[in-house]
Amino acid sequence: MPRFSSLTIKDHLRESGLINKRILISAIGTGILLLVLLARMFQLQIIDVQHYSSLSENNRVSLLPIPPTRGLIYDREGRLLAQNLPSFTLELVPEHVKNMSATLKTLQKLIRISHDELRNFHKQLRRKRRFEGVPLRFRLNDAEVARIAVNQYRLPGVEIRAQLSRHYPLGSLASHAIGYVSRINEEELRHLNASNYSATNYIGKVGVEKSYEHLLHGKVGFQRVETNAQGRVLRVLERTLPIPGKNIYLNLDARLQAIAEKGFKDNNGALVALDPNNGDVLALVSMPTFDPNLFVNGIDSKSYKALSQSPRRPLFNRALRGQYPPGSTLKPFIGLAGLELDVVKPSDTINCPGWYMLKNDDRRYRDWKKHGHGITNLRKAIVESCDVYFYGLSLALKIDRLHEYLSSFGLGKLTGIDISGELPGLMPSRAWKRRVYHQPWFPGETLITGIGQGFTLTTPLQLASITATLGDLGQRYQPQILHAIQQPGTGELSIQTAIPTGKVPIAKIEHWHTIIDIMQDVVSSLHGTARGISHHLSYRIAGKTGTAQVFGVKQDEEYVAKDVAKKLRDHALFIGFAPALKPRIAVAAIVENGGGGGSVAAPIVRKVMDYYLLKSKVNANATK
């Protein structure tokens, strides 16, 4: 027994010795591994501390953009055309809303929420994060804001956020010129400077808002904020304020514009008034207009349908994009071409029997006056608008020279106005016809080109531009709607300078004076087609009426206005500048389906000129 016991003790000692040796080895191993860990920590925290500190800093700090305030738009007299008003948006923050459907139901009892708005809300709700506000209603009125505010205590998570929203105080006035801003679409997003627009929801879509987007927008500001991994802002570390957009002044005169727009009554049409001395756009009318405020926060589908499907096409900018046959308004220019190119003298006469026939052709090219004008010289041909005279003259000029001369005024080319979307019109030529129709030019086409019909197309802006060029004796300017840019801070205005775009070649300046003199007779002569506007005229207008055919009258039919449906009636045109000898305003007006230019279009132009020329006189008198 004791032997056994001593063996056990001996074995036990041996075993414990063995195990203790292993424990010692383990302890050493443990120590080594601990050193490895410590080395790793040393590497991370002592050697690479800079690297990880900056990573950590970048992790938590992010940049949030602050939208700049959009520049204001004024007219040339400083009247506000576009401003930024606080607008109230109803937002719901999902994480604070206890019961979404109940909250929405309560809100619907308080304010009107349309189906579209609800659908948009649910669409955005899925995309946004829990702590981000999801807009439900835009542009709450004061009563709605009050109703929400009173009930706020039982609507957790419902917030009213004020933000600046574009507003056009004059409503539909000059809407085609000013344009509007609206939500940035995906196409625009692709071409934008993404960082500068990172906080902006709106962008100029048409008109000045679009073409001067770069001035109006400003520069985005940033705040460095501390965020958590979900992007929730915890605090603001630093702020770089945005630079607001520049205020701009337009050459447009809002009063003048209003007078012109009113002049159209219920008619569709367009009017452009320019300053012949520099190309300033004084009025740019396209009727009917629309309310640009509808577009700012996203137009609802019903209103948009009403606008886009209206047969009157209110969204169509007729002044820049409406291409009309110029009709007889082209006659003074063709007459000038005849004089300058030495094809005709003012004293040359023809006999007008009321029609014209080409050799080897039995088609009769008719005059608007059935029995003709009789013996007709250039003066009579323009004042009474004799077609037969210009049939002959254009045939003598031939289409190529006609094309070249009228092109030198700018027909068939873009004027370069600082509003986008302009169309070039069309000044036909032999080469053009071959290129487009693969056909030779026929002499009959030269005839009708001579009275501004046929292929020839002009925009109201182009007509105003060539009228201004005529009034300013051949000097051409790029029409400009921008008058001045206000420097932020100082408030100083930097006035835009006129941009000359060339000069019409002048053979003899007397020819120009002759034509201008004749054009005055259009208004002042007893036989003038625009004599109706000469009543109590205290200055001299040089003008020309025109009628553009909408549909062709057959050979032996007669055009009787009252028998023709209104939309097929002729367009009425009038171009003119005043004062005739040192013009300060040149206007082109077209009244769609208006009938005669002298009776419908000319009176609008007279009103515009009266206001523009006489108000300045009143002002001048007042300063004396």
Partner: protein, 374 residues
């Protein structure tokens, strides 16, 4: 004189009380300090969530109660029950496989009415107990036959747990068993052969791993491969540790963790929060605390009086170190991400109870010694 006598008397009676309660004071103090540090770190990591601290406190109290309870059981009793505990643990493991809840995409939990628990936790203790008991029954070092049986006894639960799949726990179970083998004098030749065998079978094992497990290992090699996916944890935790620097950002001032960049910051990745806020100096102090606890455990192993106790105590001490090493290694990007908590600091239930039970066993081994001298 009277006073000093009295004081001495109190100290000895204090020691005596501790001994009677089967508590090892140095170990208890070390654990309490560690648990206290853990609560501070958790308070910061949880974003000063009082209710979380309260729950953890309750859990710690329960765990310390279990520690004391386990300490009352003598090593002899433990040794006797070892095979039974092992057997029951294995059965429960099979039960989990068959009817276990599917929690977190892994079959680990067993719902037994009142509460759910992970049978794999039992095996963290049952395996070393079983192996220690099995090897202590015969002469050490063990012969080949015994070695083979022991290897199978380790492999079965380890593989079952790995299949759940819970690689972290499987690793801890395997280590606990293997440490017993190592301490029992496993010959260096075998160790070498085993290492070569493991290295050789690595490609085969690689194919056995699940996609996400493979991904974790690939991620370790290059976290930037998938910075927002599997690499996110490691990138964010190394940023947290690295940005702590020498002194740290200060308690409650860690930006990585408080701004939610750090995932699992209350549980497996809490070391990153600690490192960010307390820096390199803090880490050195924390490691010192761990070293103190591990050393004390190893001392208990060395001082123990029978082979079973010695093997078990040594294995438990080393397994505790594995927790520490794997967790810190994983958080700092040295090891692949396996779910191993930082002992006594990570927020969480069962693992803390198991750990404390292990320390209970250690205290039992220390306090049930028959005092040979004096």
């Amino acid at each position: 004189m009277l006073q000093s006598d009295f004081a001495e008397n109190r100290i000895t009676s204090g020691r005596h009380l501790m001994h009677r309660l089967h508590i090892d004071l140095p170990l208890l103090i070390g654990l309490l300090i560690l648990a206290g540090v853990g609560l501070f770190v958790l308070y910061s990591a949880s974003g000063q969530d009082d209710s979380m601290i309260l729950r953890q406190l309750v859990r710690l109290a329960l765990a310390f109660f279990i520690l004391i309870a386990v300490a009352q059981i003598s090593p002899a009793t433990l040794s006797f029950w070892s095979p039974w505990i092992y057997g029951v643990g294995l059965l429960l493991l099979f039960a989990v496989l068959v009817l276990g809840d599917i929690g977190k995409g892994a079959q680990r939990w067993l719902d037994i009415g009142i509460f759910r628990f992970q049978p794999s936790e039992i095996l963290k203790l049952a395996v070393p107990m079983m192996i220690a008991r099995f090897l202590a029954d015969a002469q050490l070092p063990p012969n080949r036959k015994r070695l083979l049986i022991a290897a199978i006894l380790i492999a079965i639960p380890a593989l079952l747990v790995a299949k759940q799949p819970d690689l972290g726990t499987a690793l801890l179970i395997g280590c606990a068993g293997v440490f017993v083998l190592f301490l029992a004098g496993l010959s260096w030749r075998f160790i070498l052969i085993a290492i070569i065998a493991i290295a050789a079978s690595a490609p085969f094992v690689w194919n056995l791993l699940r996609d996400y497990q493979q991904q974790r290992i690939l991620t370790l090699l290059n976290p930037q491969n998938d910075p927002l996916g599997t690499g996110y944890h490691i990138i964010q935790s190394t940023i947290a540790i690295g940005s702590g620097g020498l002194y740290g950002k200060g308690w409650l001032n860690g930006t990585q963790s408080h701004l939610d960049f750090l995932p699992e910051r209350n549980t497996d990745f809490i070391f990153a929060v600690f490192s960010e806020e307390f820096g390199f100096l803090g880490i050195m102090l924390l490691l010192l605390l761990y070293i103190f606890i591990i050393s004390r455990c190893l001392v208990i192993a060395v001082q123990s009086q029978d082979t079973y106790s010695r093997l078990l105590a040594g294995s438990l001490a080393l397994t505790f170190f594995v927790y520490l090493f794997v967790n810190i290694g994983m958080v700092s990007g040295l090891l692949p991400v396996v779910g191993v908590p930082l002992p006594l600091i990570s927020y969480g239930g069962t693992s803390i109870v198991t750990l404390m039970a292990a320390f209970g066993i250690l205290m039992s081994i220390q306090t049930h010694r028959k005092l040979l001298a004096g």
